[in-house]
Symmetry: none
DNA sequence: ATTCTATGAATGAATG
DNA sequence: CATTCATTCATAGAAT
């Protein structure tokens, strides 16, 4: 019943690419899906949608082509990661080589046949001891001292800066993300949890997800 | 020969055949390790092994390659979390349906790949399908089942995953986990909190860990 | 057809 | 437990 072309990944509206029928492999987002995803990302500040949001988003995007929750999940995950990665390179405090394709060799020792090589091998002793709380799960948090420590780590930076992004995309024109009509958002409770704000010049007055989504397709999709 | 294949990783066969050995610091499970971990997870109901179990498991898996306790710990954490997450944004929270899915396909008795568990597995190293690179290659570990599958346009659940994961999920999945030899399961209680083991929808009539583990490398060989 | 690149998918490791 | 991050593997399409 639904317009979702369950097979054959919708053709791209732009470009040629007439249906290619490569279904069953990886998801190939349609231009509309991408457009909306980016809009949600940049104009609504959605970076890591929660399960609920993911569900709604994918449900909404389904009208533009086959898509599943995991696709949405990965999309945001990747988009965010790559944006961050890109930024990290440009502002990297210690401009490493970064782009040198590594394609070739410089095999770092170790002989493939036996593997290991460097590690002191498995010393049965000193196994982890981080977790211990109650019966099962435990948080390693800091323990884990093992033979790994013998290895020489090179600069381990672990900085997780939160936001900051730029309007790189803006490829598509006017976003009419305007909240106009009423909706049946009876359950958008935690929607705010992931609303990130970016530090600066983002116009983005993030609206609620349903609001945003609703603008893409006039109204109601399904009624469960 | 030896199951010492802890070199793990190995290159992917595509294109050029030069191994890329990223010598990363992170644990790269061998196919055997994964096979066993999954078996413990699915066929023995181990979800959050306690420190003691972790220790034994990792010690056991060590024969298949380098591994530490924390790896086991994280593996279970992640596996469980992802299985759950997958379900979260795959399943419609408002739709109680969705309880059947798959499970009807493969022989319930024991799953083809990870199954065994019961067999003394005289040859610890290898069956499994070809690859060893990261064990990945086309096996998406998790199912990501969505309504798409419910529609089953082609009437096929081709989960490109031979691993046949899931099946956990409060299912019954009749598993005759080898009720053969005497088990002195006096110690698998571990859970201190006794009965709260798997709160409710717990699957699997777990067997004692040692029992399970013992089946993997019953007769052992190598023995350095 | 082969190579390259952008990006989907996966997963180890953390953190809260 | 849920979330997040970093890396890496895999591949659809474009470029060559």
């Amino acid at each position: 019943m639904e317009p979702t072309n369950e097979d054959a990944v919708a053709s791209y509206s732009t470009k040629g690419a007439f249906l290619c029928r490569q279904s069953s492999t990886r998801w190939t987002p349609t231009t509309d899906q991408i457009r909306i995803l980016k809009d949600l990302y940049y104009n609504n500040g959605i970076r890591s949608p929660n399960a609920d949001q993911i569900q709604r988003i994918s449900a909404s995007l389904r009208q533009y082509g086959k898509i599943e929750g995991k696709n949405v999940f990965y999309w945001f995950q990747n988009h965010k990661a790559r944006e961050r990665q890109k930024k990290r390179f440009t502002t990297d405090p210690h401009h490493p080589i970064q782009k040198f394709r590594t394609s070739a060799n410089f095999a770092p020792s170790n002989d493939p046949s036996t593997g290991l090589a460097l590690v002191p091998s498995s010393s049965p002793a000193l196994p982890y001891f981080g977790y211990n709380s109650r019966e099962s799960s435990a948080s390693p948090r800091y323990g884990w001292v093992t033979e790994n420590q013998l290895k020489a780590p090179y600069g381990v930076y672990h900085y997780k800066d939160q936001e900051a992004d730029e309007q790189e995309d803006d490829s598509f024109a006017a976003r009419e993300t305007l909240p106009l009509f009423p909706m049946h958002n009876e359950d958008f409770k935690s929607s705010t949890t992931s609303s990130n704000y970016y530090n600066s010049n983002s116009p983005v007055p993030y609206t609620s997800l349903e609001l945003s989504l609703s603008s893409y397709f006039s109204q109601s999709h399904d009624a469960h």
